[in-house]
Symmetry: C3
Subunit: 144 residues, 3 copies
């Protein structure tokens, strides 16, 4: 059995113009890690240590990314009256609420040294915070 | 350590009458796989390779499925002006956005050769697409 | 390879005053389990057997918990006309729909006997039901 833990590092920007949502396609970096590891069959767990960003999958097409950002602005608007902002000067309650709804982790099977993704399915980091962040995504491989 | 990867195949229909959401109870197919595998303790990862469908759990009761579909139509309506549809003729931006919010994967522990589910908790494939699809869900068992 | 399965037991309350949403910080109980287990590197899967409660992460700050509860009341209101309630006397369709959207499972990597969480990231059980429940969260450790 093999267990190895790596990191994917992304410097993100706060996207004020589009509701504080930035979507980063990390699929190439994930593939790079798989090529360096020696797991034939098993799984990859991606985990974001943090509370204002999430991990997911989407077809990474420009129009769809616009639609996806609008969904987040619609269901968790940034201009509501939030309790969190009175406690802390960060003013990013919407970032936290969005990230908690999205979730911090993603598990993807590996078969014959390849990640099982759909043809148009990309792995993304979604940054919801209102300031630039250095994100260190944990990528853990387990298998044989 | 045992790692085996199987598939659960479902032919889905586009459900135009109910907002393009179809819910398929795949729990019996999951139990069939567990009976065929030799994992006593470990986990099952279900992963949907694709970007317009999701995996989750719900009490599979007819009234609740209606309520669940209404939730999706409410938070990600199909009749908004979407950017994705101008780029591609598929006109299924809502399907993508719903699937990305729901997520493509589910992990369930296996204990003493049994899947740990609640009494009324069923595993479902939720099809959001606006055309019939052949879905090949990856079911990966890892354990001992 | 080590696979061990434990339980985290929480007696929850129905929170009628705040839209039937209670958030329980189970991080200390998770840490207690890790200290008792002998996994150096691997993963923890938390799974909620049930259909009216979910597992996730959030910064456990009082103001933010208020904001988080308001999000659930906004996107899945309790006072809609639900089909589920006519079938069953439980009147908790909103609890089921919220729990299905949130999801029942969470996977967190373990590295050097420590759970990889962000500095302010807490693991929570979110109770959506409209009556007190005894929740038995499955905590499965897999690794070496």
């Amino acid at each position: 059995m093999i267990v190895t833990t790596r990191k994917i590092v992304i410097d993100t920007n706060a996207n004020m113009d589009e509701g504080f949502i930035s979507v980063y396609n990390i699929t190439p970096k994930v593939h790079d890690l798989i090529n360096e590891e020696y797991i034939t069959n098993g799984m990859l767990t991606l985990f974001l240590p943090g509370t204002t960003s999430g991990i997911g999958t989407i077809e990474f097409e420009n129009g769809l990314i616009v639609d996806y950002k609008k969904m987040w602005q619609r269901i968790v608007p940034q201009d509501l009256s939030y309790s969190h902002k009175f406690m802390w000067a960060e003013n990013n309650a919407h970032s936290h609420v969005r990230a908690s709804l999205m979730g911090p982790s993603l598990v993807i099977p590996i078969v014959n040294r390849r990640l099982i993704l759909g043809q148009y399915q990309q792995v993304v980091l979604v940054e919801f915070d209102n300031r630039a962040r250095n994100r260190q995504i944990v990528a853990q491989f387990m298998g044989e």
